[in-house]
């Protein structure tokens, strides 16, 4: 990591440590809003990272942004940080105007809204934080193809709903509503890149939560005593600790390799591999963490569930693992090379993040 990134990560982690606690997460889960935390992120220009300075952003790159997202996952920060920053990132990516306000997105090509003469119609479910945000960046289908559209949410009919972790995942309905901006028709490549980036953001959040669950669990084995000694002294518990450490180390390394690959404009297989591997990681990590914490970890009073419930939600948001499995299988089928050749390609960078001129 660059020194600049180390510094950003350090500042954000201190902010989150100080401002986010279990009570705040609980409060937001009950439907409230965390204005102080949001304002802090905005004042510190964290919401403008990875947007170029010429478009009013704070500079920095996608790796910086994904590392901040990872930290918001590590602290279960109850604000639409990922949503606002990624929405803006996509606006810039498709040559649209970046917006200042709170924003969210809908990126599932299957539930794209219909676009006709600049008016948006249709309904989409599981839109993160829609009730608290002002703008929606969404895929929409016109007679010409698929576009990225920005639209003001004040025109929408919003039905509140939540995911397993109690995070807002609302149903949004438009009826001939006026759009603010519409991109050119997106090429299939570009839509795939949006899916790849979306998954990278999900991986960032999940990496943070996994890291936190590992911390909580290790800490618990030091504090909890049974049979007259801390439970980490028992070899069967140590075996749990090692499996957990292994999966956590793998998640962190996978995340770092994913962000690096995105930054270097390399082929997008990294996101696919990571996504497939995270399936197993989440299964192992959540099972072990709860087993080690035992009864107390199943209570609302303990904070463990704030992270395990998030993992159980986040893993199903965005492109599914079967999408990535299918992609890797298809690439393998079409590859003229051996598996080793496929895994160690020579760096012809593909224009994954190239902004179209």
């Amino acid at each position: 990591m660059s020194e600049m990134r180390d510094m950003i990560v350090d500042v954000v982690e201190r902010m989150l440590k100080e401002k986010v606690d279990k009570d705040l997460v609980d409060t937001v889960e009950q439907g409230h809003w965390a204005p102080e935390l949001w304002d802090l992120f905005k004042e510190n220009r964290m919401t403008a990272v990875a947007i170029t300075e010429e478009n009013g952003g704070a500079g920095g790159d996608i790796e910086d942004l994904l590392n901040i997202v990872r930290l918001t996952g590590k602290y279960a920060a109850p604000i639409p940080f990922t949503e606002t920053t990624f929405a803006n990132y996509l606006l810039e990516f498709t040559n649209l105007q970046v917006i200042e306000d709170l924003a969210t997105y809908m990126l599932c090509p299957d539930q794209a809204f219909t676009l006709e003469n600049g008016k948006l119609t249709g309904e989409a479910i599981h839109i993160p934080w829609a009730r608290h945000t002002k703008n929606l960046v969404t895929l929409a289908r016109s007679k010409d193809g698929t576009h990225l559209v920005e639209i003001n949410l004040s025109q929408a009919e919003i039905k509140e709903a939540t995911n397993l972790a109690g995070e807002p995942r609302d149903t949004v309905r438009f009826q001939h509503s006026t759009t603010s901006q519409v991109s050119a028709v997106l090429s299939p490549d570009k839509i795939r890149t949006i899916t790849t980036l979306h998954t990278a953001f999900q991986l960032a959040l999940m990496t943070g939560a996994i890291d936190k669950i590992n911390d909580l669990t290790v800490q618990y084995t030091k504090e909890r005593e049974q049979f007259g000694r801390p439970i980490h002294r028992f070899q069967l518990v140590q075996q749990h600790i090692v499996h957990l450490a292994g999966e956590t180390a793998i998640a962190l390394a996978a995340f770092n390799n994913v962000t690096e690959a995105l930054l270097m404009n390399k082929q997008n297989s990294e996101v696919a591999y990571a996504s497939i591997r995270f399936e197993e990681i989440i299964q192992t990590v959540t099972t072990i963490a709860h087993q080690v914490h035992a009864a107390i970890g199943t209570t609302h009073e303990h904070s463990l569930h704030q992270f395990t419930r998030r993992l159980w939600s986040w893993r199903d948001e965005g492109a599914s693992t079967s999408y990535w499995t299918n992609l890797v299988a298809t690439q393998l089928m079409e590859s003229g090379d051996s598996l080793w050749g496929y895994l160690t390609p020579f760096s012809k960078s593909s224009p994954l993040l190239k902004v179209e001129g």
């Binding site: 140590q238 600790i241 450490a245 793998i250 591997r277 079967s322 890797v328 299988a329 298809t330």
Partner: protein, 384 residues
Amino acid sequence: MFHLPTVQFTQEQEQFRLDVRTFLQEELVKGTFTSKCDSWLSGDDPEFSKLIGQKGWIGLTWPKKYGGQERSTIDRYILTEEFLAVGAPVAAHWFADRQTGPLLLRYGTEEQREYFLPKIVKGECYFGIGLSEPNSGSDLASVSTRAEKVEGGWIVNGQKIWTSNAHLCHYMVTLVRTSPFDGKSKHAGLSQLIVDLHAEGVTVVPIKFLTGEHHYNEVFFENVFVPDNMVVGEIGNGWAQGLAELAFERSGPERILSTFPLIDELIQELKRQNNLEGLKQASKIVARLWSLRNLSLGVAQLLESGNGEDVSIPAALVKALGTKFEQSIPEITRLIVQTYPTLDAHRKIDRFMAESILHAPGFTIRGGTSEVLYGVVAKGVIAQ
């Protein structure tokens, strides 16, 4: 949790990978060698080792004055990956290249370096690693092979066991007790000696592997004289010197890729069958491999930057996770495609299956059992 660095290969490194790959493919086509699973332990071929030596691919990272190429740890990582991915017979020179060379460069005398390293580099001088004894497996510090001081050297008596390829090796770096066992500091009093395996009093007895193949041995020492100039490092410092080797030994690509030829053949087979469903199942293997390689490369990068960061915990973790992965490959493969494993099978996948099934139990034992590694990792994590 530790953050390991990522590795991006330079263009020169990618070119190097391509050169090695092209050479190995040409030799494979010529019939110089046959691909094999677990070739770093069971593929011993001195002629192939000499050929590799001529290419300058043994002792790649060592100083030029000893015949090395002064290339980076990452270059060596690439080289090793290419050997293992194609299942090339690199066992003969393996331990000398991986362990003895670095040990002598770190602790050896100038005389030892000048004498041994150029021979190792040529692929003509092989070393065994003499650690385990019949009553000292995981509890290595309890070794009882002893060396007594005499005029001009040491007299060694005792026995080593599970010494890979001792029957092909010229020398063995042997961990011996040079002062009596002290329960209070059991790591003290151990030393490393280079024993000439053809010296008087040394007997190498084969232990047949469960297939009947001959890979490892018992080595007996009966009043074997070892001259003073064959002591490695300091007398009494053998434990610490041995530990320093471990990071290099534990986390390399050979802890992930021992069954790679089987994975590669599985994918080829599925492609021939036009079996997309099978490839979907196999994509899990690919994702696991990728994620382990990230860790292993991260440790290699830490070793390369050499800023004194302790890599022993992540290195132990890589070995524990990696060997479990390579061990699982035949069991996953047989559920995706139909195979009938035999060692002399005509079909490549059947032969690779047989080699993998039969060698797999050893992966999580050799070089430190998973149980010992788990202990190391758990203590490290708790201490953080």
